[in-house]
Symmetry: C2
Subunit: 367 residues, 2 copies
Amino acid sequence: MNASDSSAPLDLAQTRQRIDAIDREIQQLIAERARWAQQVGKAKGELKAAVDYYRPEREAQVLRMVIDRNAGGPLSNEEMVRLFREIMSACLAQQEPLKIGFLGPEGTFSQQAVLKHFGHSIKGLPLATIDEVFQEVAAGNADFGVVPIENSSEGTVNSSLDLFVTSPLKICGEIELRVHQHLLARSGRLEDIERVYSHPQSLGQCKAWLRANLPKAERIPVSSNAEAARRARNADDAAAIAGETAAHIYGLKVVSRSIEDRPDNTTRFFVIGRELFPASGHDKTSLLMSVKDKPGALYELLTPFAEQGLSMTKIESRPARTGKWEYVFFVEVEGHVEDPRMSGAIAAAAARAAELKVLGSYPVALL
Amino acid sequence: MNASDSSAPLDLAQTRQRIDAIDREIQQLIAERARWAQQVGKAKGELKAAVDYYRPEREAQVLRMVIDRNAGGPLSNEEMVRLFREIMSACLAQQEPLKIGFLGPEGTFSQQAVLKHFGHSIKGLPLATIDEVFQEVAAGNADFGVVPIENSSEGTVNSSLDLFVTSPLKICGEIELRVHQHLLARSGRLEDIERVYSHPQSLGQCKAWLRANLPKAERIPVSSNAEAARRARNADDAAAIAGETAAHIYGLKVVSRSIEDRPDNTTRFFVIGRELFPASGHDKTSLLMSVKDKPGALYELLTPFAEQGLSMTKIESRPARTGKWEYVFFVEVEGHVEDPRMSGAIAAAAARAAELKVLGSYPVALL
């Protein structure tokens, strides 16, 4: 029986009995699911840690099915996906849980991205720099790392991208997270503010708002939003742009809330790991390519992908750090390296490039 | 079919098909549960916000059933309870989600307690002081508040208890949370440390460790562990006792991990709200009583509870703040005010007390 087709309304006690019966079934099924998840581990040999079981392509497939089935509601896709992430997270953590490195401290957008993607049955390792996230994953102290890669209004986080040039790590997932920026100040009064501190990314995300509301204030870029809040604490004429957390840590008042110019302001993160995973059926491939002579040579490198009908979702050029890499291009193409069209295009591009590196093939972010 | 009684082992693809089928059932049931939860709302009239549906006694009953049924595993009680808290949290948040005030910033033990108890489908309001948590709940800006009340090694958080003397708010839940304390310092070397900053509660929780490992160091109590970390940042001979979060926010190294004297170091929190809720079947009642003349009169006040066979789980005396309250006692008794034995004992005690106030009856903490 279904709540919506009950002819006569049940009283509270009867409704609760129905819910109890449903809970009993849900619980049996979760326990059964956990037992089958153990079986998957055994099918792969006698493994010990969650990292040996974790398959991002499989998780993406499971969650896509969840969304497909969720058409009738009543819960939103976000809520239903969140519940299934937690169920998978708990099933996976029956052995030693996944260790995930991220740019700390706790309470950052990076931590939110970790929990959104991996659920709560994990061990989070907050680290001081993006560089350290790469190092800890490479050294095996973290199973995976989560690093910010670009913002929908402000573009690429270049420091993350540059690390891929020399790192042996692979991209095995992407995460998209909505972010809100606030104007914070000690006084709490807009009219007192003559200087605004923030990370350059955040200043950029709020450019139009600043122009409209604080046209005369000086904009001072600093290393992080937390550092901005710390500085704003010391003067009555200073403000910071940062998240809610920073306001509370540094005892600042929220002068204006959600001042990001675009209401869909989203930050994208990469999940980095030590190996490539199989295709999930809806994937992207990130490539790093260099040409020795001139930027114009890029077109030649891209032709093989166009010929195979593979669409490019992003291209970004970076100055090379060594003489060897004169231009470095980060390219994202829809598809997986397992796809023969993709592997063919990569081979053709590799023949023309000074260097070509597959950074990873990974499921497209879900929600 | 069950994973454990499969005679021939299935291959990976077959196992995944089984899991897909289970997920389909789980999802249908969660959606059905969400629809029934809406029905509960309708049965109570046309209500709008989650606070109108939230019934702590019912949640406690549901989770006790979850634990009873979980005997066979394979997931731990903690994990299974966590999943059901999230399912209930999502079902409840179909309308406007619960707003929960707590002692901020984000990343504090108080926030952990909020999420443990209410799940993630809530809106958390980090506040600057315990006093503000009381105010925001009283004013209706928060539906419930979560305040620390005592620690297993260090005893009562008196500032919280004192607020109940004058507050009209009711206790409608308790939460128990394991907490770990770390020794943090800029240098990271134990031999450099001559001063240790921390909240008095935390210093107390690590007394034996400090005596054994830093017998000569000065112990300096400060207002919060975050403040301790902030101070330790400025000198090479200073350390702080605080949680993981503070280490990352203030860029300190963990000199020694989990230095709390008792491995079961637990902090207890109260959930405060504006009304009393019905009995869950396994409840506690918190009372505040005063006697006008002498402390000895307390015995008389307690007699009615003993006579009714109601056992006392805690008693705490506090200096009165007004002349009117010469002694104030906080007493916790097993049972609910709805129980006639409890109401009888309360009436008898009230007749003898200068003043008696029922602070709340609430489900005993689960895990």
